[in-house]
């Protein structure tokens, strides 16, 4: 028998501070899929805020930290398409040839959790039950940079009792955009308000997505509008951990 793959979990700074349960759900799923999981201590942020603001040096410094912490693993897996998208872009931040090679090596083995479970590990949920109706939003980075589209839907299909409802404009940005949402709050609000109207229109009890930033944006707007929709990361549902408080609900 071959050795189980050794996966380094990239927690992401948002999950670390805002919703640790997503990190634990990711570990649980990876272990169910037959991986050995470790959480390197020398990790913080993938560098998106700097990278997206034009601070190449700042982004490169964080990139090197991530590369050094994760290059020894078979895979880097994170519960976020946008962080993995950033990690896959590390080679473009490196001016030095040897760092560029190391960046390319890591980029080639970095995956978003749902794509990883389905495409790489061939995992399917077994005996997971959630009696609820839900709708799914495609987070843009996962969708367009990593091709995460069919995988989460196929995995959610395997959850007993879960009724999935189509979301109008599921592939349209929610208006989060990282620092965009606080630099241009009015535009961001207009965008997320259209999204929340579409979500409410589905009548689904739950909103699921694969990126905590987008989820916080949509959940925050839905709650401000008085909507009852409860928001979870897809990994929480698949790990059978969506029976507790949703995003923003008091523990």
């Amino acid at each position: 028998m071959t050795q189980p793959p050794k996966v380094g979990l990239f927690v992401t700074c948002l999950v670390d501070a805002m919703r640790p349960q997503i990190g634990f759900a990711t570990i649980k799923l990876l272990e169910q899929a037959g991986c050995r999981v470790e959480v390197p201590r020398a990790q913080t942020c993938c560098g998106q805020p700097a990278g997206n603001s034009g601070d190449k040096r700042g982004a490169a410094a964080l990139a090197k930290q991530v590369i050094a912490a994760f290059e020894g693993y078979d895979y880097l897996v994170a519960p976020s398409g946008s962080c993995v998208g950033q990690i896959r872009s590390y080679p473009s931040l490196m001016d030095d040839a040897s760092w560029r090679r190391r960046a390319e090596d890591l980029a080639g083995k970095s995956f978003e959790i749902l794509g990883f479970l389905y495409d790489v590990m061939g995992w399917q949920p077994q005996g997971v039950r959630l009696d609820a109706s839900a709708t799914y939003h495609d987070s843009c980075s996962g969708l367009r940079e990593l091709g995460v589209e069919g995988q989460p839907r196929a995995l959610l299909d395997g959850v007993d009792g879960l009724e999935m409802r189509p979301l109008k404009g599921a592939n349209v940005c929610c208006g989060f955009g990282g620092t965009f949402c606080v630099k241009y709050p009015e535009i961001s609000t207009a965008i997320v308000s259209e999204k929340s109207a579409n979500i409410v229109e589905t009548g689904a009890e739950l909103l699921l997505a694969g990126d905590l930033g987008c989820l916080m944006n949509m959940a925050g707007r839905l709650h401000r509008e008085g909507a009852k929709t409860r928001c979870f990361h897809t990994a929480e549902v698949l790990a059978g951990m969506a029976d507790g408080p949703a995003i923003g609900e008091e523990a």
Partner: protein, 468 residues
Amino acid sequence: MADAAFKTRAHDALADANLKTAIDRTTGTAETKRAAAVDAFPEFQAARARAAAIKDHVIANLDHYLIAFEQNATAAGAQVHWARDAAEAAAIVSRICSDAGAKIVTRAKSMLGEEIGLPHALDDAGIERVETDLAEHIIQLAHERPSHIIWPAMHRTREDVAALFFKDHHPPPDADDAASMVASARRVLREKFLAADVGISGANFLVADTGATCTVTNEGNAELSTTPPRVHIVTAGIEKIVPSTDHAMALLRVLVRSATGGEVTQYTTFHCGPRRAGDADGPEEMHIVLVDNGRARMVGDEFRQMLRCIRCGACMNHCVVYRQIGGHAYGGTYPGPMGAVLTPVLDGLAQSRDLPHACTMNGRCEEVCPVRIPLKTLLKAWRLRTWDEGLVEKPVRYGLGLWGFAACRPRLYRMGTRMALPVLRLFGRGWIRKLPLAGGWTATRDLPAPAARSFMDQYERQQKEARK
């Protein structure tokens, strides 16, 4: 970052419910029709790749094809003029008009014409300028600039247009339905088409091996603007060149589907030189003004791929920001994602520093771009320049610097998190409704309160327990 002017324009646009109605009607229809056209054309992805390759080839050999075009256009009897920048281009056109003793000039819609400030230049020269594209006619009556590169009057609802026509058409339209209004515009414009001394058009393609210019329209106004007058002037950016008519056709296949969802435009006309002996009609003189205005420089820098753009408008039709604020808020000639890349080239980065940042980087624009321009990458390249040139606001700069300092020191970062989380939780358990310094978020959204203990803290504790 906040360029006050951009934020103010965006704020005003967001407050205009009528504008939002107009944007939704037009872009919504465009999105649906494009999707249907792409579905009905199985070779679309291959056609896109070919279109991008054609443009890349031309950009790499621009000098060669421009010289060939000039030779062949001249041989066909046209006069070719070269303009380094907008002012020079507008001056050349004005001079040709005054040499021709022009009193009335008809114009077929051209964004390049807007880019070089032609409407103003003609007005300043005291020439009666008649915009003949229906939407351009509307914004001429409203004294506005185009808000979209395909539908210049897309910010105006049908109801707005009726009001304009009833005020400015003499006699006014028979009724306020679309057919009556179009008939009225046709009456008004028809007189001008026949009375014009000079007709000015743009070009969708400049065909190198024949010297022809090509216009595509759905109203036939380009043909009526370029055939009856004595003089036809074409203004075109130098990137519009294609090697041959076949290449123009290959680009048309993706251009029209991406722009309107049609398979082909109603009118696709190749203009090759002025009227020849024995021709039934056509202008006595044909002038072609080739405009650089920053393009040659782009060939050599990181914005080179932007020269692929064939001006279809799909990127803005699919842009969440454009669909909220419309075209005028961008403040340049070209709006939306392609405008956010081009405006800093044309107007300078300091003038337009917000544009590359006012984007969520969702990537839908490049997904639909018919020539596969990596718009996100190009917008990021502008962001790098705003950072390097000190155009990023100091609080953002310092904030990111501080964050970066801590994030590069995991132990310090962890300590910071441990202290910050309980403080944040003082503002609310569950949901935070108001948070100092985070008004951008909490003005319109609740913020989920953070965890009591970070993932890393919880995980490390678990690991310790397990080892016991």
